[in-house]
Structures are given as C-alpha cells and as structure tokens.
C-alpha cells in the first residue's frame, strides 16, 4: 500500500471518529436544551397548577399552553396523573382537555408517526377517557409492534379490565415480547383485574369440566349464577384465537401470576381447582407459587398429592408452598420427601419442616443425628443454615 493510500485511509478514519464525536456532542446539547426548556416551563406552571388542584382557580383561569410546548405539558401532567387519584386526577384530565392537549393527542393517535402515537397512547390511556378506547383498540392491531405495544399499555393504564383478554391475545400473538414484559403490562390494569381474572378462570374451569363430560363445578362456585357470564363476550372474543380451555397454559400462567402479584387471596379456590384438573407442569408450578405466596389456608389438601409427582420441580414447589401455608399440618408428608432422589426436593421439604417451628426442627434434629443417609444429610445442611 502506498504512502498516499495510507494517508487517505488515516484521514478517512479521523473524519469518521470526528463526525461520531460531533454527533454525540450535538445529541447531548439537544438533550440539555430540551431539559432546560422543560425545567423553565415546569417552574412557570408549578404554582398555578397546585392552585388549580386546590380549586383556587378553574381551567379557564390557567394560562394558555402554546402548541409547541404540548410535549412538555404532556410530560408534566403525566407525572402527576400517575401519582394522584380521585377528584384531583379528574381535574388534571379536565385541564388537559381545556388546554387543547387531549385533542392534540387524539390527532396524534390517529395520524401521528410511530413515536407520537406511542406518546399519545400512554397519556390518553392513563386518562381512562372512553373516547380513547376505540382508538387504542384499533392501534392494538397496528402492524408496527411498538405502536401496538403502546396501545396495549394504554389500555392497561385505562384500568378497563374488560379489554384484558384482547390485550393478552395480541401480546401473545406477537413473538416480540417476553413473558415478563407481557406480565409487566398486564399488571398495569391494576388490582381490579384480579376479580375479573378469577371469574374468567372459573368460567373456563366449568366449560372445561363440561367438555370432559363431567358436568361438575370444580371451582366450587358456579359462574353461571353470575349474570355477567350469560353470553359473556370476553369468552367469545378469547375463543377466536385462544380456546382458553384450562390447558391454554401460557394465558393461564400469566393470569395466575397476576393474581400472585396482587396477593389476591379470593383466587385460591380457583387455583386449587386448577391443581386438581390440570396436567400441565408449567401451570401447576405457577399455581403452587401463587398459593404459597398468598399462604392460602385451604390449599393444603390440593397440594399434598403433588408431593408424589414424577417431575421434581413440582415436588419441590409443592413442598415450598406447604412451608409457607401450614407445614405443621403435614410434617409426616414433608419428612417423607427428605429421602427424595432430587437434592432440591429434599432441601425444600426440610426448609418447610423448619418453618413449622419447634416440632419440625425437633424432627430435623433427630434425623441429623442419624448416619450418612439422604435424610440426615439434608437435615444437617438445613439446621446449619438456620
């Protein structure tokens, strides 16, 4: 390679690095400028905004917000909307409407580019405005996954639980999202989603039981007694893609995890029934984790048979759940697992026995004094860790 070529190559590389640095500096400068603009506006709005929340002035007394500042205005109001509820929150939505922000966002949701649609979904969803719902539902099916995801988040933030199945259907239909990401979105529906999920699961348990020819009511409660279930549209909607019988395991696991997140105790009977009818290991594990988390007192009978399952994960999770529920009532069964072939099963059983307090610890101490068996090994290990 000639000297001229080397020089040209070096110059080329140097200008590339320089351009790269210039771009970084420019982005940083723009960000700082944006931040300064926001802080200046925030200071201007703050005092008047709090007076408005107090009721000391009405929306028409609030200084007009320029269209170019709508982006900052949206950020500002959103920060307060997410922490306030009740009348104060309603006042924020009224102020957003009066300032023209809501109309602006509705336009963006209909006609904006990807980023504008996403921002508008977040805000309009959080307002819970009825007018926003059809637009969000439309965007849920948008070909752009990010717009669809933002619409799902918007619907969840609206807290309108009737749309949960629709959101689940779309999110599960797109392979882009992880299980955790979907759970995170569904949790945004709020704790009110739990009674809805519980009714939905009971309904599906019953449908499943009828399909299998049992005709019984494994959930313990006949959901058809509830008027809301007669021709329940959510069921039909779910049926389009997900039949939602009890073995639609991904949906089921998601729903159980939401009940667990909110420590929703009234779902214990439903989860117990699922333990009895389901053969899907994943479903059983999620139910066990949920029942253990809510420390469901009525679940012991449903969990005990799972200590004998072939899958060691189920045996260990069953032991773990019993440990948080009522280990004192099943010490003999737990002790029976101390000789299990799997180390985790032995450990979880010993851990559960220790959680029973004095009687469990005394049994472990007795076993620990024994020879080199599995039982004595795990008992010693557990006692040392206490």
């Amino acid at each position: 390679m000639s000297t001229t070529n080397i020089l040209t190559l070096n110059l080329g590389l140097a200008s590339l690095v320089l351009s790269f640095l210039l771009i970084i500096v420019l982005i940083r400068w723009l960000e700082q400028r944006k931040r300064r603009q926001y802080l200046a506006l925030e200071t201007r709005w703050e005092e008047i905004f709090f007076l408005y929340l107090e009721g000391a002035l009405e929306a028409d007394g609030f200084p007009p917000v320029k269209k170019k500042d709508y982006k900052y205005w949206e950020w500002y109001l959103y920060d307060y909307m997410k922490i306030i509820q009740g009348e104060d929150r309603d006042r924020i939505v009224r102020l957003a409407g009066h300032s023209g922000l809501l109309d602006h966002l509705y336009r963006q949701l209909r006609e904006g580019n990807r980023w504008k649609m996403m921002g508008a979904s977040r805000f309009l969803g959080a307002t819970g405005e009825e007018k926003a719902i059809p637009l969000l539902r439309k965007n849920l099916a948008h070909r752009d996954s990010l717009v669809s995801l933002a619409a799902a988040r918007g619907l969840a933030a609206s807290g309108k639980v009737d749309y949960l199945p629709e959101v689940v259907e779309v999110l599960l239909g797109r392979s882009l999202y992880t299980y955790e990401a979907i759970s995170e979105i569904l949790v945004e529906f709020g704790p009110e989603v739990c009674p809805f999920i519980n009714r939905l699961l009971k309904y599906n348990l019953l449908v499943s039981a009828y399909r299998q020819g049992g005709g019984g009511d494994p959930g313990g409660v006949n959901p058809f007694e509830n008027q809301a279930y007669k021709g329940g549209s959510f069921h039909l909607r779910l049926s389009r893609r997900y039949p939602m019988d009890i073995e639609s395991y991904r949906v089921l696991c998601l729903y159980i995890d939401i009940l667990a997140f909110y420590n929703y105790l009234p779902g214990e009977g439903t989860a117990g029934a699922i333990l009895r009818v389901s053969n899907v290991e994943e479903v059983l594990i999620h139910c066990l984790k949920y029942l253990g988390k809510v420390a469901s007192p009525g679940a012991v009978e449903d969990i005990l048979p799972l200590l004998q399952r072939e899958d060691w994960v189920i045996r260990s999770q069953a032991a773990r759940a019993l440990g948080t529920i009522d280990p004192g009532s099943c010490l003999a069964e737990l002790e029976g697992l101390l000789g299990d072939e799997n180390w985790w099963v032995r450990f979880r059983a010993a851990e559960a026995m220790a959680l029973a307090g004095e009687p469990g610890i005394a049994r472990l101490e007795g076993l620990a004094r024994g020879g080199g068996s599995r039982e004595s090994g795990v008992a010693r290990h557990l006692l040392e860790s206490l």
């Binding site: 709090f50 920060d79 922490i83 509820q85 009740g86 104060d88 105790l265």
Partner: protein
Amino acid sequence: MRVLLADDDPSVAKLLKFKLEKEKIETGWAQDGDKALEMALGEEWDVLLLDIMMPVNDGFWVLRQLQEKKPGLPVIILSARGQEKDVLYGLELGAQDYISKPFRPAEVVARVKRLKATGR
C-alpha cells in the same frame, strides 16, 4: 408541626410539600433511604411520610433502623406497593399507617394531621 417527606419522586414531594405547607405544616425532603434516615435522626419531626421503593436503601430498611434508633417517630408509609403483605410488613416494622399510590392528596394531609393529633 414538621413533616419529613422521604420519596425519590419529585412530583410526589413537590405536591405534598405544597399541600402540607398550605396547612402551615413545615416540610423537609429526602430523596433516598440513607438521606431519610440521616434527616429523621438529625432533626425533630412530628411525622415521617415514607416511600418504600427508594434508591440506596429502601423504606423497610429505614423503618428497621428507626425501630432501633428513634422508635417514637410516627411513620406513614406511602408507596406504590399497595399489596397486603407489604402493608403488614410495614406495620410490623412500626409504621402507624399506610397509604397506597396513587393517592388523594387531601387524604394524605388529613392522615398526617390525625396521626399528629392522636398518635395513631
């Protein structure tokens, strides 16, 4: 009356500061668990409004420290975790009251005043 606000969200702090000061209640603000403990121990406060999810050390850590070092300070937990077990855990650690986010600002002020007046 003096209230210490321990919350990393400036919107929460600014709003409650405004609401409390309207009621002639003096306020202080700590943005993380360490600062909250330092301010709680270093000055006299009538009530501590304490967030759970805070940087550095969380609200439960602050409560545990206060149990040892300043057990008489009345605490109201103010947290997005509106979950039963967190409520119970917070109350077990010595908090007198628990308010979930999102909250009603007027309710927070009323509970602060009641706690100061009745001690519960």
